[in-house]
């Protein structure tokens, strides 16, 4: 009897961890064409970016003087300040929310879990548009209530908009990690007399450090790269100045120099995050049973609910209410609010091209990095991640500089635009596809080979079908992200091509809020569907 039981327990043990050793098979001969394909996928953006650095050496002294001018140093200071502020507030909100929802007995935790992540579908410039147009002496709130709120613009405005735009990333990453912490660790701490705050500080937070670090890095890079919100908030961050330099002058070298500086700053952030990861072992078992949740008393319950409510209110309810009001007022005053068919068509075209290209590009990269993993393939993964991390405006500038000189026929063509989108968001497609390929037992491929199918036939008939779901999920993510993309679209669009994002930005920039509102609502509506699909897929793993 005892023996039978211990066998049962052994069976239960590896719950949650994939038992299929998908990535560990050592195969000697990596097909050369796989390498060639992977490098070809990286090339369209990697080469122009490298070219950008080469260009910098040809830059005139005057251009270098720009770099060392007082103005540039102030610019760096401003961008750092904004990034630091946003990263801090987004981390506090994201981690706090994840803890409340995962570890307390707050009511409707599941509903809150979805609502709290919802600002993800609202682009930063739409948030900025809502805040700018609602506040201040001539804002919507003053107009409706007669009570003027301080005008949210400049640093405070950019801070708020970007905090709302980035905290969901921290939240989602942290929430996923919190469910992987063995609840026994917290119970051990509690049984040793630790208060809830002490448990959070000494047990949960150290366990979460890698995830919080990754989330904070994402928030920081997002902020550093953001163009839409800072430009609508009239806050002179790096991206806004680069854009002004680029569009306002004949000599584009200063824009190139500033782009390089921005890339280097992003590099410093990535490096810094890697450095702060501790050396201790963060091995945690995947939780086999739900954690015990803290019982909130009435005051705490009201406090926690209010905190979540404020975040959702500012991040979702307020923007949507403001947009709808503008739309209604615009229509009532007879403004010309037609449905922007051209922009919708442009967005859908851009998103579809990007999604398809990214899915196609992800396949060789994922097969290479999963089935033939080695130190060399790590560099391919790093390349993909770097392209995802680089500020879009710098990629756009690099691509423009390169195509003008070496590839004039495709300069500002839809092909280049699609390739740039796909490269920038490739990481989203590869990580989703990688996760599903890791679940595919390599023995299935071996079986196919032993049944007389060659490697390519095997990939088409066994590997692709099995990883298709993950690949499609990644494609959906790329689609949504592309819809919201602004700076690269602004710089690389072919003449006459426009998207919802561009339309929103230019209308808002000119103060045509009603027109911007219509496009914004359509954009949110279009992007909510894939996100809904993704959140259903990942609900279990997020544990929210």
């Amino acid at each position: 009897m005892t023996q039978a039981e211990s066998i049962v327990e052994i069976d239960i043990e590896p719950a949650g961890t994939p038992t299929v050793p998908g990535g560990t098979t050592a195969r000697k001969n990596t097909p050369w064409w796989l390498w060639a394909a992977a490098i070809a996928v990286l090339a369209p953006v990697a080469i122009p970016v490298l070219f950008l650095f080469a260009r910098a050496f040809e830059a005139t002294d005057a251009a270098w003087d720009t770099l060392w001018s007082f103005r540039t140093l102030r610019l760096i200071g401003r961008s750092f300040a904004l990034t630091a502020l946003v990263t801090m507030s987004a981390t506090v909100i994201g981690v706090g929310g994840a803890w409340i929802l995962a570890r307390t007995d707050i009511a409707f935790a599941r509903v809150w879990g979805v609502l709290f992540a919802l600002p993800l579908v609202v682009p930063s410039y739409v948030l900025a548009l809502a805040f700018v147009s609602a506040t201040g002496p001539r804002g919507l709130i003053a107009d409706v209530t007669g009570f003027a709120t301080p005008h949210l613009i400049g640093l405070p405005g950019a801070w708020l908009a970007l905090t709302i735009a980035t905290y969901p990333y921290v939240y989602l990453i942290t929430a996923a990690a919190i469910t992987k912490i063995d609840p026994a660790l917290e119970e051990a701490a509690r049984s040793l007399g630790a208060s809830p705050t002490r448990v959070f500080r000494t047990v949960i937070l150290p366990q979460l450090r890698p995830s919080v670090g990754a989330g904070a890095l994402l928030a920081a890079l997002y902020t550093l790269s953001d163009f839409g919100a800072v430009s609508l908030m009239r806050f002179d961050a790096f991206t806004r100045v680069i854009y002004a330099q680029y569009s306002g002058r004949l000599d584009r070298t200063p824009a190139i120099v500033l782009s390089i500086v921005l890339i280097l700053i992003a590099g410093v952030f990535i490096w810094g995050e890697q450095r702060t990861q501790g050396k201790g072992s963060y091995f945690t078992r995947s939780a086999m049973r739900p954690p015990s949740r803290y019982h909130l008393d009435t005051v705490q319950r009201i406090g926690a609910t209010t905190a979540l409510g404020v975040a959702v209110g500012i991040g979702v309810v307020l923007p949507v209410a403001v947009l709808v009001s503008w739309l209604v007022r615009g229509t009532a005053s007879g403004a010309d609010i037609f449905i922007p068919w051209r922009a919708i068509r442009g967005s859908l075209t851009a998103g579809s091209i990007a999604a398809v290209l990214a899915m196609v590009g992800a396949v060789p990269i994922v097969i290479l990095t999963v089935r033939f993993a080695s130190k060399k393939t790590r560099w391919i993964e790093r390349g993909v991640f770097t392209m995802f991390s680089l500020p879009h405006i710098t990629i756009a500038i690099a691509v423009i500089a390169f195509t003008i000189r070496y590839a004039t026929p495709v300069y500002q063509s839809i092909v280049v635009l699609g390739l740039v989108y796909a490269s920038m968001f490739l990481a989203q497609a590869t990580s989703a596809a990688k996760a599903s390929l890791l679940q595919v037992n390599p023995a299935l491929e071996d079986a196919s080979r032993s049944l007389g199918k060659g490697p390519i036939a095997t990939y088409f008939r066994v590997t692709f079908p099995l990883m298709a779901k993950g690949l499609l999920a990644g494609g959906a993510l790329v689609f949504v992200t592309t819809l919201k993309e602004l700076p690269a679209t602004l710089l690389l669009s072919p003449p006459g091509f426009t998207t919802l994002a561009v339309r929103i930005w230019s209308a808002a920039d000119e103060g045509l809020f009603a027109r911007a509102a219509a496009s914004s609502l359509i954009l949110i509506g279009v992007s909510i569907l894939p996100v809904y699909y993704l959140s259903i897929r990942s609900k279990d793993s997020l544990g929210v």
Binding site: E5, A188, R190, S191, L192, G193, G280
Partner: protein, 344 residues
Amino acid sequence: MKDILISASRLGVSFGGAVALDDFSLDVPAGSLVALVGPSGCGKTTALRVIAGFETPTTGTVSIRGVFVTGDGKEVPPEKRNVGMVFQEYALFPHISVEENVGYGVRGADRVQRVHDVLKLVSLTGHGSRFPHELSGGEQQRVALARALAPDPDVVLLDEPFSNLDAPQRERMRRGLRKILKGAGATAVFVTHDQSEALAIADIIAVMRDGKIIQTGRPDDVYEAPKNPWVARFLGDALLMHGTVANGSVHTALGDVDTPLPPGTLVDVMVRPEWIAPHVRDSGPGKITDREFYGHDQRVEIQLPGGELVEALVPTRNRMTVGDRVSIELVDAIVYERAADSLL
């Protein structure tokens, strides 16, 4: 009778529709080592978690030193119960050293001294600056125990303390654990599915099944006089024979067994292998058909005249080999009235 330190009374817990604890009552005397033993899923870990404060029972109460911590309108959170816990996977904080783990629950000026003393108690002096992942399974378990003991809790709860150790470590830790707990003067409750573990080290064992405690007592008493055939089989090898009472006794293949039960009662007669004493006799009715020799004793399989096979555990001094004819002396036997819903 010693003071009752923990008293759990009529606890009921259910998860969804599944009942984990059902009318569970247990008294733990101060200074004793109590084993909660039962098959997987019988609710023993749930009982431990209710006592520690990690689960809230739907009914029933728990009191520690006469003060209610659960029930009676109260629910004291785990951190205020002064109950130490050793988790199945140890749950050592992976990011801090052994010293910091052990000192986590200790406050006050003599913290360093206390950590030192407890580490000494578990024979881990000198390991303080290591990290949990640098220790062997047995060492991790001792750190977990030291950590639980360090704040000087009223009681230490241990959830399957030996399940993550390999067989040789298990043997050593069994003895070690008992010594450490007794050395610290601690009261402890531990949960196990391994009856030999429970019998070996507990002062009191409580046998559980389906969320209920079936029998509580000293290990010897429960082993020698199990309350029903299920407990008998759970705690050790047991031969069960059906029979019917006639004239104050039951006739079995091993001989007649006296019983006060009324005539006509259907019964099960339980006999442990060591209660069967075969004696080598040329004219004996039984025949030895198999033998396993263990050194200190031996297990022999005996074929009875009716063809039935029974096993007996015999001291080595009674020499016997396969093929010997034996007569059988029944040293002891227990008669159970057969329940209508017997689950055997």
